[in-house]
């Protein structure tokens, strides 16, 4: 099937094994008004692993992702049932500020969305709004994040230039750098490579491998190759239901559901 998938599985697994149920989604149902978008989803995301959500358009994978940091809160008429826990605590706990949740759960969007500010200001944005003003701290965070996002060498001489002058791939890596600058634990990626060319996509994918050592990553993707290349586990959604969730190898090599098999082999989607 996908030869690279197996290669990736042989990653230098820094097997300081974390929690198996770092993100625990339990019987999660979700409605946009009267429309049910998710139906009784239950899955666990292990710590410092990459989990890919795949499925045809409108299957609810993005909805579920956006629930992990409660970005859907802004949408009118939403309703949910069941629960999502991160590190053992419900994200709907009244004692949890949605803001602090989002600091813990960073997000990278489908379309890169750098702020119309300088590269530097973009990267340290999260720190600034947290009230960090110490220039040294900001500088250090900026460099670290950009290095982690593999962008440092390309932009280190023009940190004060507008971020909008970067290429598409650079912008997306900048958004990743921005998302990891305040050291979240989880990184949600919503089709981060869909607007990028293959070279930029390759760089982002490499980056995801690097980041896995530190972050728990949930990635939504339309590209099964990408899911196969970057993820440890893959969840296949269809019509708001979780059809199959297993190791990536299993999903791609030997799916247990017929729908998964049909989707993966390109018979619909």
């Amino acid at each position: 099937m996908n030869p690279s998938a197996s290669r990736i599985k042989v990653q230098p697994a820094t097997e300081s094994e974390g929690r198996k149920d770092y993100i625990r989604i339990q019987d999660f149902g979700f409605w946009y008004g009267a429309k049910k978008a998710l139906d009784a989803i239950s899955l666990d995301v292990p710590e410092r692993r990459v989990v890919a959500f795949i499925g045809p358009s409108g299957c609810g994978k993005s909805t579920l992702l956006r629930n992990l940091n409660r970005m859907n809160d802004l949408v009118d008429g939403i309703r949910h049932e069941g629960d999502i826990q991160i590190a053992g605590r419900s994200i709907y706990d009244p004692g949890i500020e949605v803001i602090s949740l989002r600091r813990r759960v960073g997000m990278v969007f489908q379309k890169s969305n750098p702020f119309p500010k300088s590269i530097y200001d973009n990267v340290v944005y999260a720190l600034r709004i947290m009230g960090v003003t110490d220039r040294a701290v900001l500088d250090e965070a900026c460099e670290t994040s950009l290095r982690k996002a593999a962008l440092w060498d390309e932009v280190k001489d023009r940190l004060n230039d507008s971020a909008l002058g970067l290429s598409g791939g650079q912008m997306q890596r900048l958004c990743i750098a921005r998302a990891i600058a305040n050291r979240p634990e989880i990184l949600l990626m919503d089709e981060p490579c869909s607007a990028l060319d293959p070279i930029a996509t390759g760089k982002i994918e490499e980056l995801i491998h690097e980041l896995k050592a530190q972050f728990t990553i949930v990635i939504v993707t339309h590209s099964m190759q990408q899911a196969a290349r970057v993820s440890d586990r893959t969840a296949f959604f269809y019509l708001g239901k979780l059809i199959e969730y297993d190791t990536t190898e299993k999903i791609f090599m030997n799916p247990s559901q017929a729908q998964t098999e049909a989707y993966i082999s390109g018979r619909f989607g």
Binding site: N69, M71, D73, L74, D76, P94, G95, E97, I99, S100, R102, R103, G106, M107, F109, K111, N113, P114, F115, P116, K117, Y125, A126, R128, I129, M130, S162, L164, M171, C175, R178, A179, N182
Partner: protein
């Protein structure tokens, strides 16, 4: 090879690819029409600008004098007079002989034909000792060797011949001689003034080396054989003035100004027949040569232009001054230093009807304007000494008689002698004022009134009105825009946005009407409660916000996002009510003053303000105007800013929120900077609206052109000034053009501000542009 490429290039295009001729034609013509429309707009705007500038430019051109053919008289001429059109001037010589010569055509003037001569009939033994002509009054006054004076009146009758040609014919009437001065002493000088206070003659005689002045009021009645003049009692004006050199008698006949040879000026006031010494001053006391070379009393009778032998020229005028005893009295003092002259002063000859004068010095003749100091005209002076200079009543002709008997004549084209850069934008010391000031006062009841056209108070008023309007409008409009675009429920936004847009179309005359007739009295009656109310709103809202954020999550979550205002409004209303109720207490605690009228202690913020701020309090004031003009500005600023804020891509908002920013942090650090160019546009368009707003200011400001930052008085803006005064300004007059200059200033003001704003906006857009 495909099928198409085999076709020859000349092959006709298949019909299905052909474009109909009509489409092409319509495309061409619509293109032209649109281009024409665009060019027309540019041309119209430029045309307006050109029109404004054309209306204004004449203000700044000096006088144009065109030389007319000079008339040559006898060299013995000492004075002259002329008719209204300067067609038949006459001279008189030392013996009182009048000689009329043609001047109604260039040829006639050159020929110098004598049309008439006349000599006075004197009693035996009488001789003419002095003579003075008042050309504009057609008056020649002779002083005789026996202390008598003889007034000769010259009037012109116009005769028309068959062809319609007109010929002026002089009519000379000699009034009976009047004994005025001391008998048997020759009159050395005579003056006659006619004014609102009657007709007065003054003569100078000398006895034992001392000059003295005697005056008498004359009453004239028409009798059987001509006018009968009766002289009142002769009274002494000044009995002993050493080294008297010149005397000026204002046409008001209420004072006499005497200039002595050493440069001292003495002023005597005359009330009926009582003469009292008022003041003496020495204009050039500080110069090595303190003598006055020449002097002239400017039209209006309150300003004396004096110059020295060193070419220094000054204007002295009578104005209220604080005396050493603490009282304010009208006294003479220097009000202007004029431009230095080319040499020693040789004569100052005032015009009539305006504040211009001809000054002769160092071989130059200059027409200057006394008030604004502008030089209207400069030309070489005739070599011979100038005897007399006459400006016509309408300031359209100038005639100069020199000692060689030549009467040089010019026609004057100077429609705006009172206009200069200084008049409009400088601080000017007007006659009667105690200090230089920026004054706009375009009309009054008196003819001799000098209109004051400083645009500075109007510019100040414009800026002030705009400032108060924007002070009120900008924060509200921008905060509302941020709130509506970022926080409000979409369904409410659908109602509020169009409502605000409808507000923008409220006719400003309605707003002005409401402001002037409804709001101003309410504000006036409830000033302090309203101030307390407004002052309480912001803290109340902030407190409410703080209290809200301290509430635990579960309670907060019960209020849906976008409905927080439902909790805020009652709180703020309650605080406002509290402030309103507390106002009387605050007023009586902090703002109790002694009422000047009754002597009782009253609690009145307005009275307190009057007594403690040093400023006035008017019910039509900047606060009211700012508030109501703010209403006119808010919808515009709101609409544009709200659009800009709403157009910020959701991706940026989500990006910021996903990074753990609060909604407010997102708005402040991402949404507002991204929308900043639109916000700046909104502010600038609001600014433009406030600057140009007319009806509200006309109706609610009181239109007083004062320059005070005082929030509790009115102002007059450039636009209101144009609206108020243009209907009463005569086309082409200085007032009319001054109003157009105001329009130019308004244009320039908005142009500069908008250009600046546009540059700023472009920069901001460049900086915060979104991919």
């Amino acid at each position: 090879m495909s099928e198409n490429s085999k076709q020859s290039p000349d092959a006709p295009t298949p019909a299905r690819f052909q474009v109909s001729r009509f489409t092409l034609l319509a495309d061409t013509w619509m293109g032209r029409l649109i281009r024409f429309g665009g060019v027309s707009v540019v041309v119209a705007v430029l045309g307006m600008l050109v029109f404004l500038v054309c209306q204004v430019l004449p203000l700044f051109s000096g006088a144009k004098l065109e030389s007319l053919t000079p008339v040559t008289f006898e060299k013995t001429a000492v004075g002259f007079g002329e008719d209204e059109y300067g067609e038949l001037p006459f001279t008189c010589d030392a013996a009182g002989k009048l000689e009329f010569r043609h001047a109604y055509s260039a040829a006639g003037a050159a020929a110098g034909v004598v049309t008439k001569t006349w000599s006075p009939t004197l009693a035996p033994g009488q001789k003419v000792t002095t003579i003075r002509t008042y050309p504009r009054d057609g008056l020649v006054i002779l002083g005789l060797s026996d202390g008598n004076i003889l007034e000769v009146k010259v009037t012109y009758k116009i005769a028309f011949d068959e062809k319609g040609g007109r010929t002026p014919q002089p009519q000379i009437v000699a009034l009976p001689a009047q004994q005025l001065g001391k008998k048997l002493l020759p009159c050395l000088d005579v003056w006659s003034v006619k004014g609102p206070n009657g007709h007065m003659v003054i003569c100078r005689q000398q006895e034992a080396g001392h000059d003295f002045l005697t005056a008498a009021r004359l009453t004239e009645k028409s009798g059987m054989g001509g006018p009968v003049v009766t002289a009142g009692n002769a009274f002494s004006v000044a009995s002993d003035i050493p080294d008297l050199e010149r005397v000026f008698v204002p046409s008001t006949a209420d004072s006499v100004i005497v200039v002595r040879k050493d440069g001292e000026v003495r002023v005597y006031t005359i009330e009926e027949e009582e003469v009292s010494f008022l003041q003496s001053f020495k204009p050039f006391a500080s110069l090595p040569d303190s003598r006055i070379a020449s002097a002239g009393l400017i039209f209006g009778n309150v300003s004396l232009v004096v110059n020295s032998f060193n070419g220094v020229e000054e204007v002295w005028s009578i104005y209220p001054q604080v005396q050493s005893n603490g009282q304010t009295q009208r006294r003479w003092g220097k009000i202007h230093d004029c431009e230095p002259l080319a040499g020693a002063g040789q004569g100052i000859f005032p015009a009539v009807g305006n504040k211009c004068y001809l000054t002769v010095a160092g071989g130059r003749m200059q027409i200057r304007n006394m008030t604004n100091g502008s030089l209207r005209w400069d030309a070489p002076a005739p070599a011979a000494e100038i005897q007399q200079v006459v400006f016509s009543r309408n300031y359209d002709r100038l005639a100069v008689l020199s000692a060689d008997g030549v009467l040089r004549r010019w026609s004057i084209e100077d429609h705006h002698p009172e206009a200069s850069w200084n008049t409009f934008f400088g601080k000017i010391w007007y006659e009667g004022a105690s200090a230089p000031a920026y004054t706009w006062q375009s009309s009054s009841g008196a003819d001799e009134f000098e209109a004051k056209y400083s645009l500075v108070p109007l510019l100040y008023g414009t800026i002030k009105g705009t400032f108060y309007a924007l002070l009120f409008a900008i924060p509200i409009a921008l905060l509302a825009a941020v709130y509506v675009s970022q926080f409000l429920r979409p369904e409410l936004k659908k109602i509020i946005k169009p409502t605000m847009e409808v507000m923008a179309s409220l006719p400003s005359v309605v707003l002005g009407f409401l402001a002037g007739l409804w709001l101003a009295p309410i504000v006036d009656a409830n000033l302090l409660p309203l101030i307390c109310l407004v002052a309480a709103l912001a803290p109340a809202a902030l407190t409410a916000g703080f209290a809200w954020s301290s509430l635990p999550q579960p309670i907060r979550r019960k209020v849906g996002p976008g409905w927080e205002f439902a909790y805020l409004i009652p709180f703020v209303v309650f605080c406002g009510w509290l402030a309103w109720q507390a106002a009387p207490m605050i007023e009586s605690t902090f703002f109790s003053v002694k009422d000047l009228a009754s002597g009782q202690t009253i609690s009145d913020f307005r009275e307190w303000w009057r007594q403690n701020s040093g400023w006035s309090y008017d019910s039509r004031n900047s606060i009211v105007v700012g508030f109501v003009m703010g209403f006119a500005v808010i919808p515009i600023v709101f609409t544009i800013a709200e659009d800009a804020l709403s157009n910020v891509p959701d991706a940026l908002v989500s990006g910021s929120l996903a990074l753990g920013a609060s909604r407010w942090q997102t708005v402040w650090s991402v949404v507002v900077p991204t929308a900043i160019s639109g916000i700046v546009s909104g502010i600038m368009i609001g600014f433009g609206r406030a600057v140009g707003e007319t009806m509200i200011v006309v109706m609610a400001t009181g239109n007083t052109p004062v320059m005070e930052a005082n929030p509790f008085n009115g102002m007059r803006t450039l636009s209101a000034n144009i609206a108020v005064e243009l209907p009463e300004a005569a086309v082409g007059q200085t007032h009319y053009r001054a109003l157009f200059l105001g329009a130019c200033c308004l244009f320039a003001l908005t142009f500069i501000i908008n250009t600046f704003a546009e540059i700023l906006r472009q920069r901001l857009r460049e900086r915060y542009k979104v991919v």
